[in-house]
Subunit: 213 residues, 2 copies
């Protein structure tokens, strides 16, 4: 199919597709002449993937590029798969954060480590995710929002439920697994947050019905 057909199939203007091609987010079509190239279903899927990641998962095109790079070249070992996937989802800043000498005993980092440890999980304060958690705790405190240990543990328990379901749904083949983990996680993040809000309404109604319990 030609680019105008690709535009029709994806619902995007031709100019945007040209832009994605220029940016390397979508591979070039098969050139049949100097001003003609053919695109196939894989191109349609790729464009839809880019849109899903930008629109639904709110990724920047730079982040989409990172994700696509991992999908296009998945690590061979199944063991490295999740690690590579997680790595692909970090920001440049997070990736390059080496421990510069003394960590200055950040209280937020301590608490983040404690939350993780309380669930019986591993505990490495150098892990970018633990650092990200600490950063979130710091921001909440700066905004004068206090989160109790029980509250935080409830989040950790819920996360465990989610992660177990996630891991259980990973397909056997490497490429499919990569796709499911990386793209699946990104696209289900907003689902989880939306479900949380719906559940809040529900929990609030229930609490109102059974007032000062």
């Amino acid at each position: 199919m030609r680019i105008s057909m690709l535009a029709e199939r994806t619902g995007l203007p031709v100019a945007t597709l040209k832009y994605y091609l220029r940016e390397g987010l979508v591979p070039p079509g098969i050139a049949t002449a100097r001003t003609q190239a053919l695109y196939d279903e894989a191109h349609v899927a790729r464009v839809l993937l880019v849109r899903a990641l930008t629109e639904s998962a709110s990724l920047s095109l730079a982040a989409v590029r990172q994700v696509l790079a991992v999908l296009d070249d998945p690590p061979a070992s199944r063991h490295d798969l999740l690690g590579a996937a997680q790595h692909a989802l970090l920001t440049d800043e997070e990736r390059s954060a080496g421990t510069p000498g003394a960590p200055a005993a950040d209280p937020w980092l301590s608490r983040a480590a404690a939350v993780v440890a309380a669930r019986g999980w591993y505990c490495d304060t150098d892990d970018p995710l633990v650092r990200r958690l600490a950063e979130g705790l710091r921001a909440a405190d700066a905004a004068d929002v206090t989160i109790s240990d029980e509250h935080l543990d409830a989040y950790a328990r819920a996360s465990e439920t989610i992660a177990d379901a996630d891991v259980a749904s990973v397909p056997a083949d490497a490429a499919g697994a990569m796709r499911q983990v990386v793209v699946g996680t990104l696209l289900t993040d907003p689902l989880i947050l939306t479900l949380r809000r719906i559940a809040q309404q529900q929990a609030s109604d229930t609490a109102a019905a059974r007032p000062t319990s």
Copy 2:
């Protein structure tokens, strides 16, 4: 305190504070002369809140404005509180989405409603949150990510755990409750997503240790 002190306390350049004042995100100081105004701890807290919402919760300044408007003028009735809070967290587009005649029987909307109903929750396909859920499901499908009913139900169960903890932690006074619900939800969203990723690593390791179970 003068603006330079406010800058020092918040760690932001004076130019940025002036910008926030201009944009109405931070209330003006008490003018003592035509070129002099005083700021207090409330201003410090406000600036830190704005930063927490933009940096940690990734809100745009326009969204921060919406949130602050609700915080500054909370609904009197406790019953309306969560509704108003939820309303404040919607986009303009979502707020203005009235049902235009026939809903065209969107399959994603049906599935979203089914997920909600399966948890024994209310079920209104006009609810902006249910629509948002449907939109997320549509995006996942477009990106060729399939989510089983069990998988989705695990998310719903986890969300219930989270929401119960959220509702249990809401303070009694109206202003504090508003703050906790709106700001607390926004700032804990990233915590939950980060915990999910950490839990995924954990679940993956566990699954690897107990291979083909």
